[in-house]
Amino acid sequence: MPQDMPPTGGYAQVQYKRNIPARGFKPAYYMIGMHVIMAYGFYNELAREKMWSRLHLTPLLQAEEDRDQVRRHYADKAREKELLGTDAKVYNSDRFIRPTFAYTPANLTQ
């Protein structure tokens, strides 16, 4: 029995690629467009108003907090002096360092 052979001239091409025209723009343009729309949405003068209302208050709030920290700092130093008898410097630095451990009074306060 003779073997089956391909037809003369070979088989026809198999259509495996999709042959659809690409619709719309390149994907990158959609990405850019999305960011433009987002940037427009984020732009808001109300945000400026809110930010400045806080900026005007920041020094006031910071000053109050600093005073409280300094008060606690001096209280801590006084306690250390009483317990240790000397002015022991814990850090080799002149900077103001917020304490890692908070002093808890023995009795209920406030």
Binding site: L57, P59, Q62, E64, R71
Partner: protein, 159 residues
């Protein structure tokens, strides 16, 4: 370093040792967030010099600002307290209306433009302090002067 305050929620344990005597005393402002926000622009208007001075001092103090800038800090607090006091004496009703509105509206300034307008007018007449938002683009109506507010619950003109 502890960047956060110690908060004790079981018992009230606060170090109540007073400030040592060699540091001058100053009364704290004692206002809560809504009145402060309501008065923020007036504080900014009157106290800008003190505020900038304090922040500059802190910036240049090389990490010792907490202790070295106490004097500037007291000035900041006294100035802000004077603004709150003046508003309280001259425009109490408008002030109260505005900050209570803020309190009820999640501190969103655009919900309270009517009260704000009345407060701004009163403060400008009595104290000469004006609300200006720095950095507003030229030729644009500042947001607080637009009667219609974009995100407000009430879409129409607020005054």
């Amino acid at each position: 370093m502890a960047q956060r305050d110690a908060r004790f929620n079981q018992t009230v344990l606060v170090d109540t040792t007073p400030m040592p005597d060699h540091i001058p005393k100053v009364e704290e402002v004692g206002a809560t967030s809504a009145p402060l926000m309501s008065a923020a622009y007036f504080i900014g208007d009157r106290c800008k010099a003190f505020n900038d001075d304090f922040m500059k001092c802190k910036d240049e103090a090389n990490g010792r600002g907490e202790i070295d800038c106490l004097k500037e800090g007291r000035k900041v607090t006294r100035c802000a307290a004077s603004v709150i006091k003046d508003i309280n004496t001259h425009c109490l009703d408008q002030f109260k209306a505005h900050w209570e509105c803020l309190e009820n509206n999640n501190h969103q300034l655009w919900e309270c433009r009517r009260a704000e307008m009345q407060l701004n007018n009163c403060v400008f007449d009595k104290l000469g302090l004006k609300k200006t938002i720095p950095g507003t683009p030229e030729g644009q109506v500042p947001v607080h002067l637009r009667p219609k507010q974009k995100y407000a619950q009430y879409p129409g003109p607020q005054w």
